[in-house]
Symmetry: C2
């Protein structure tokens, strides 16, 4: 394979994670290695697009190999700080490129490729989830169509772990660890009183229950886990739910339940739509209270005991202070290997993590045809959910456990973590 000479560009897209900057760090390290090579190196400069393709279309670009050049003493202080900075340091976007043949496709895509040509961009790295892989597929396809030589690589990240073609996604392990640890702390907190009480913890995941399943990881470690776990992969029945809660309350006073934000009833209505509560605000808007809050109100009305709901909300995806060392290690490797693969000739592929074994855990970095990956969702398989649909199996937890192992802490100054912030 002939070496393709020119510049590279990297962007971040979709929802933030605590590890997306570790992946970016990996891409920067890989590119700096290439740039440092004597003669014959593929990459001259690494650009960063601010706010993904949205910013790229406005030529909102920074020069990353200059921003992250080593210090005078050869240390990579800025890059080390970037690694554990949560949320996309380059900014993100939710832009979807137009489909092939759609109205306005040529205008936007020609604009994009004119910018590629202007900056002599021959390597395109896009870090993101499902929608971002769609962008990668479209850029790949258009490059082939117009015959512009560029290597286009998808670099996965998503806390949702719902991408196909990879054992799991960078960013998932850290979110899963935050959820598993926080669940243990909530279990300690709710255990202190003797009054019967139900605590409902709402966890992210609209279509896939991977994060909610992680709330049960204590089973394999401390033996203590939430009483009940409900994933969006199974239709939700309020009747069954009340029966499950009553059974749990008969066993002990402090019942803790983990629910996915995306729970749906058999008729397709979202549990969080609040249709059971029927609440409407003063302005006539339907009250979207969220799954946890809706179930809190339902339990209060049906069972009448003390009940509280907790929405883990943004912290579960941006808690850079509590990351999985395994996840950060893999995120760095996935980013670095994306550059190595692209320079060696790979294109139109998404980087993947292949599990070699679970105990002891071992992985390999690979890549997979982007057109086999984009716009699909990997859900929790049937054998990972118990028969009653109210908990996860040991097999599920054995899959999850290696991904949350190990701790890595950011540097602190005056009690607060040191983040790298783009000016």
């Amino acid at each position: 394979m002939e070496i393709l000479h020119g510049n590279a560009i990297v962007g971040q897209s979709g929802g933030p994670t605590a590890a997306i900057n570790a992946t970016l760090t990996g891409v920067i390290r890989g590119a700096l290695d290439e740039i440092a090579k004597e003669g014959g190196a593929g990459i001259t400069h690494l650009y960063g697009m601010r706010n993904g393709v949205d910013g790229l279309l406005r030529e909102d670009i920074v020069v990353l190999d200059e921003l992250f050049a080593p210090d005078a003493d050869g240390k990579y202080t800025a890059l080390d700080r970037l690694t554990l900075t949560p949320a996309a340091a380059l900014g993100s976007c939710r832009k979807k490129l137009p489909a092939a043949g759609a109205v306005g496709e040529a205008e936007i895509m020609d604009r994009l490729f004119a910018i590629f040509a202007k900056y002599d961009i021959r390597y395109f790295f896009y870090i993101g989830g499902n929608d971002s892989m769609d962008t990668v597929a479209k850029v790949s396809a258009y490059a082939a169509k117009v015959g512009y030589p560029i290597r286009v690589m998808g670099v996965p990240k998503t806390i949702d772990n719902d991408l196909v073609g990879t054992d799991h996604t960078p960013g998932f392990g850290s979110a899963a660890k935050y959820i598993a640890v926080t669940m243990q702390e909530i279990l300690r907190d709710t255990a202190v009183y003797t009054v019967p009480a139900v605590t409902i913890v709402e966890i992210m995941g609209r279509d896939a229950g991977w994060l909610t399943a992680s709330a049960a990881l204590g089973r394999l470690v401390s033996g203590i886990e939430p009483d009940l776990v409900y994933l969006p992969e199974r239709p939700f029945s309020h009747e069954q739910f009340f029966a499950d809660i009553r059974k749990a309350l008969a066993r002990h006073p402090n019942v803790v339940v983990a629910v996915s934000e995306g729970l749906e009833c058999a008729d397709g209505t979202l549990v969080g739509e609040g249709t059971q509560s029927g609440a409407v605000d003063a302005f006539g808007h339907k009250y979207l209270e969220g799954t946890g809050k809706a179930l809190e109100l339902a339990v209060k009305a049906e069972i009448g005991c003390k009940v509280r709901s907790i929405e883990l909300n943004l912290p579960q995806r941006c808690a850079g202070h509590l990351v999985s060392d395994q996840d950060i290690t893999e995120s760095l490797e996935v980013g670095r290997n994306a550059v190595v693969a692209a320079v060696s000739g790979v294109s139109r592929e998404m980087m993947t993590i292949q599990r070699v074994s679970s105990e002891p855990y071992a992985f390999e970095i690979g890549h997979e045809d982007i057109f086999k990956i984009a716009n699909q969702t990997k859900c929790v398989p049937a054998e990972f959910i118990n028969e009653e649909g109210n908990h996860v199996t040991d097999e599920c937890l054995r899959y999850l456990l290696p991904l949350i192992r190990g701790e890595r802490y950011p540097e602190y100054k005056d009690g607060l973590p040191c983040h790298w912030i783009l000016k």
Copy 2:
């Protein structure tokens, strides 16, 4: 002062914190030191009451000097694990002892003192917040009344930092650190998009705004903080709030606001009562949506931009994975010194922390007459809040900063923290 010989008992009460077991650890260490003394030692055994005075009245008691005896090799493994276990390891209660002269006072208090006599209890340590100091005062007063020789000590803990007589309370620094760090992470997360959006973060504190003020600590460290901070010490005006938000949105697209759960309008209605939304659920119950959610709905209706609310909820008081080293150090010292003080003759006092200087920070442990402390609330003083009532002053942040300094991490096994759990 004559040495008082007999047994000691310790209990935990009120809401959990991430440091309440560090204080318990301090009491246990202090008692073990006394027990180990050759001849003349005041304390023979240290008992623990399960679920505070509630459990004590049922004689639900454990022997702590046996549970936390050193290992064969002289190491205190269990005690070290207890230190960073969040939430009251002995269980808690919300029981208020009857007031002097109230109906049923004699029955309950005589029962309590009969249990003291049965177990030869001569030292009573009660770790808790405002209500718990009320218990300490009542036990002290009744002991004097019936002439039962016992030394009664209040050992403060509360994330709310609202006890008088002490510069701050054990447990506050760790909750403040969790809030300050999480706020930095939320600021990173919300900064990734360019669409105008308001994020409202609801923080604990019904009467005192100390925790909400801590959300602004980034100002002194990274220079980045929430745009607006509202404490319950000032009456809340929706009109002013909307004007503040509009001004902030004119400056930049991602506006972040910290609000206390206890915000009240000038007419005394709670902002979180949801009266502005007027929502009622299907069962006719008034919808208590919480302060953050109520303000989210209000901003959506009034300004119409993207808006999200985040309730930090239980994790802010039980996040043992992210504690302030300064807070843990002080919590241990307060517990240990309570035993030293009691054995040396002190009684009817609450342990206190006195600030010797802020920069460099230095403290001393003291104690104060419990009758001067119980049933009072220390609010954020006027000079700590800006004139507009929508932020905190530098002076406030300089008071807070030393309390969140330093990190201390629990031991982990298989990705999860090792907690000490009472069987």
